[in-house]
């Protein structure tokens, strides 16, 4: 009979090995799924995980990799801070949308002025938009004790309705012959989020993602705020005795995550997407939750997790076009990854014993 015994301290080995194990298990289970769907599992797994990196046209796919990874990393770093403190912001998708709308509105307000300051201003406005949208659940939580999970999620649906409104009315391209969708930023050089190296996919969002991840790591491990975040998550009672203000923590964590999601939104709108349309939001805000867990809620781990998840997106669409796999199968694949991560996480905190559980300290 197997039984679980709680470890006195989390295992350092399993802390870093569980994500690897989860990826392997997902490949096995995903392979079974693809086999069920009538494809050769080995071909599919190779198409998803290998072909974008080294197959034909790999340079194009590597660029796509950065394009997908940048918003995921930006959002996930912000979310991870909150998750560490036990503050569950799951409305990053809404903050991402609002960042894009506010940032794009500021940029388009100056059209067609050419000025170097317009792009930085847009970026700041985007971060502000995401921050302001995240402040709604934050303030409701601190003032009225409202559940931030539900409020932040409800606001995603509200943001989607505003996005539809923006693309059909107030941001609609006046020269667009009545088609929905904003003016395309590729026709507006001052506000364009260009690739820093031609065709590399490495735009300002990727720079910001790397910078933010490193900064967040330093904040988390070397700064008082990071200490308070970790304390509040691991030992809420101790945090209260230590004088950690829950209000400030909620405001900081939600605001930080919101601003980063807003940044991701405006970089996406002014760069890869190019415009605000009704279909602008593609679920980065939700996938970033998986990325945050895959990266063990550690900003540096999240960089790798974001790249891996981006690979499943890029490889997934490749498998979709080359092997006729349904688009939803990739979503299922990503969902499986999160399940396996959560499941094998047990190995970090528990030891598996054969026979009845021995109680630590028993008989002493």
């Amino acid at each position: 009979m197997l039984s679980l015994e709680r470890r006195a301290n989390p295992s350092q080995f399993w802390l870093w090995f569980t994500p690897v194990l989860a990826v392997i298990l997902t490949m096995v289970a995903g392979g079974l799924l693809f086999a069920l769907l009538g494809s050769n599992p080995f071909t599919v797994i190779r198409t998803i995980f290998w072909d974008p990196l080294a197959g034909t046209n790999a340079s194009y796919f590597r660029a796509q990799l950065f394009i997908k990874a940048a918003p995921l990393i930006l959002i996930a770093v912000g979310l991870a801070m909150g998750f560490r403190a036990g503050i569950w912001n799951i409305g990053a998708e809404g903050q991402y949308i609002m960042g894009a709308i506010i940032g794009a509105s500021v940029g388009l307000a100056f059209f067609p002025t050419e000025n170097r300051l317009i792009f930085p201003l847009m970026v700041a406005a985007g971060a502000f938009g995401g921050w302001a949208w995240a402040m709604i659940p934050a303030i409701l939580k601190t003032k009225f004790n409202t559940n931030e999970i539900l409020v932040s999620l409800m606001l995603v649906y509200v943001a989607q309705a505003i996005l539809a409104k923006a693309s059909f009315s107030f941001l609609r391209n006046p020269d667009g012959m009545g088609f929905p969708g904003s003016r395309n930023f590729s026709t507006y050089p001052a506000a364009r989020n260009l690739d820093l190296i031609e065709r590399s996919g490495f735009h300002w969002g990727a720079v910001a993602a790397l910078g933010v991840a490193v900064a967040a790591y330093v904040l988390l491990t070397r700064h008082g705020i990071g200490f308070r975040i970790r304390l509040a998550g691991q030992a809420p009672r101790a945090a209260r005795f230590h004088g950690v203000s829950p209000t400030r923590l909620v405001i900081f964590c939600l605001g930080f995550a919101g601003a980063l999601a807003g940044l991701a939104g405006i970089f996406e709108a002014s760069g890869p997407s190019g415009q605000i349309t009704e279909n602008f939001a593609t679920g980065y805000g939700f996938t970033a939750i998986i990325v945050a867990f895959l990266g063990r809620l550690n900003p540096l781990g999240i960089i790798f997790a974001g790249l891996l998840m981006a690979l499943t997106y890029v490889g997934g669409s490749l498998a979709e076009s080359r092997l006729n796999l349904p688009a939803a199968s990739i979503q299922v694949f990503q969902g499986m990854l999160l399940f396996f991560l959560l499941g094998v996480d047990m190995l970090t905190n528990y030891r598996i014993r054969y026979g009845a559980a021995r109680v630590k300290g028993a008989g002493a």
Partner: protein, 309 residues
């Protein structure tokens, strides 16, 4: 009776129908949360119920079979959550979210090829003369069996939770799992059963969306109803009777928009589509404010239990 171009009896009748998915899912989640488990995967279990119920109803050409299949598959799907949280001790919030993300993916995979088909009709229960009572007839007595079943379930969950030994055990597990364990109750096993019940109810609610409310299959068709159900559980302070009230309130809001439009009021569609969510937030604020932490939430809500002795 017609007020402002709206037939009140028809409006109330469509409110009762519109509230059914929320009501079923919220009742299930009430029991789950009373046992101390926070399952945020309601939306995922509903969409699974919606797609499997639809497929079963279309293939078997039987709507009742659809509801049964939806409930069974919802319960089976919730087993993933139960295994991860009760056996593998995974974080309940994260696992619930994963269940929702995974459910949306699985359902759109399973539902391929079922778009644009009409499911078999779930007819009204023949209630004879009652149908013809003025006002009350069209409002109360022309519904399908699921509407009456959901109302019965309100009573049944209230009765079981508050008037039976099983309910007492469920509440004990939810309030203080250590004490319940000390009394010899199998905490994780009781929670597992509650989670399965919640999954079945959410699955059936989802099947109602695809078989009656819409009725057809489209991707992601539950569109946040599961999350509203979660909000209603908080709104109702974890009490089945108030869940009914909450579900009717939100069901009313959801049917009011289309009815107002049909009556010729020009309301922009964006405002209509965001209204239920905005109002959910407002209601949550009103319910949560000024009462500190004592909302009536089960004391062990969201905490995993691992028997160390």
């Amino acid at each position: 009776m017609i007020v402002g171009g709206l037939d009140i009896a028809i409006l109330l009748a469509s409110l009762m129908v519109g509230a059914v998915p929320i009501l079923l899912a919220a009742l299930g989640e009430t029991v789950v949360e009373r046992s101390g488990v926070l399952n945020l995967g309601v939306e995922g279990m509903m969409i699974i119920g919606a797609v499997t119920g639809f497929i079963a109803a279309v293939t078997l050409e039987n709507a009742v079979a659809g509801f049964i299949a939806g409930a069974l598959c919802g319960a089976a799907f919730s087993l993933i959550f139960a295994a991860l949280t009760q056996v593998f001790q995974a974080n309940q919030v994260a696992t619930g979210l994963a269940l929702t993300l995974f459910g949306i993916g699985v359902s759109s995979l399973a539902g391929q090829g079922y778009n644009g088909i009409k499911p078999p009709v779930t007819g009204a229960v023949p209630l004879g003369l009652l149908r013809d009572i003025p006002f009350l007839g069209p409002m109360l007595f022309r519904h399908d069996w699921v509407v009456y079943f959901s109302l019965f379930m309100v009573f049944a969950t209230w009765f079981v939770l508050n008037r039976t030994r099983a309910g007492l055990i469920i509440r004990a597990v939810g309030e203080n799992h250590e004490a319940a364990h000390a009394l010899g109750y199998k905490v994780n096993r009781i929670r597992l059963l509650c989670i399965l019940f919640g999954g079945a109810m959410a699955g059936m609610g989802g099947a109602y969306v695809s078989l009656v409310r819409v009725p057809q299959w489209t991707d992601n068709m539950t569109n946040g109803v599961g999350w509203i159900a979660l909000a209603i559980v908080v709104f109702a302070s974890w009490r089945p009777g108030r869940v009914l009230f909450g579900a009717w309130l939100f069901g009313g809001l959801m049917v009011l928009g289309p009815n107002l439009q049909a009556a010729g009021y020009a309301i922009p569609v964006e405002y209509l589509s965001m209204a239920p969510y905005v109002i959910t937030i407002i209601v949550l604020v009103i319910m949560s404010s000024g009462r500190g932490r004592s909302l009536g939430a089960p004391a062990s809500l969201g905490q995993n239990f691992h028997a160390s002795r």
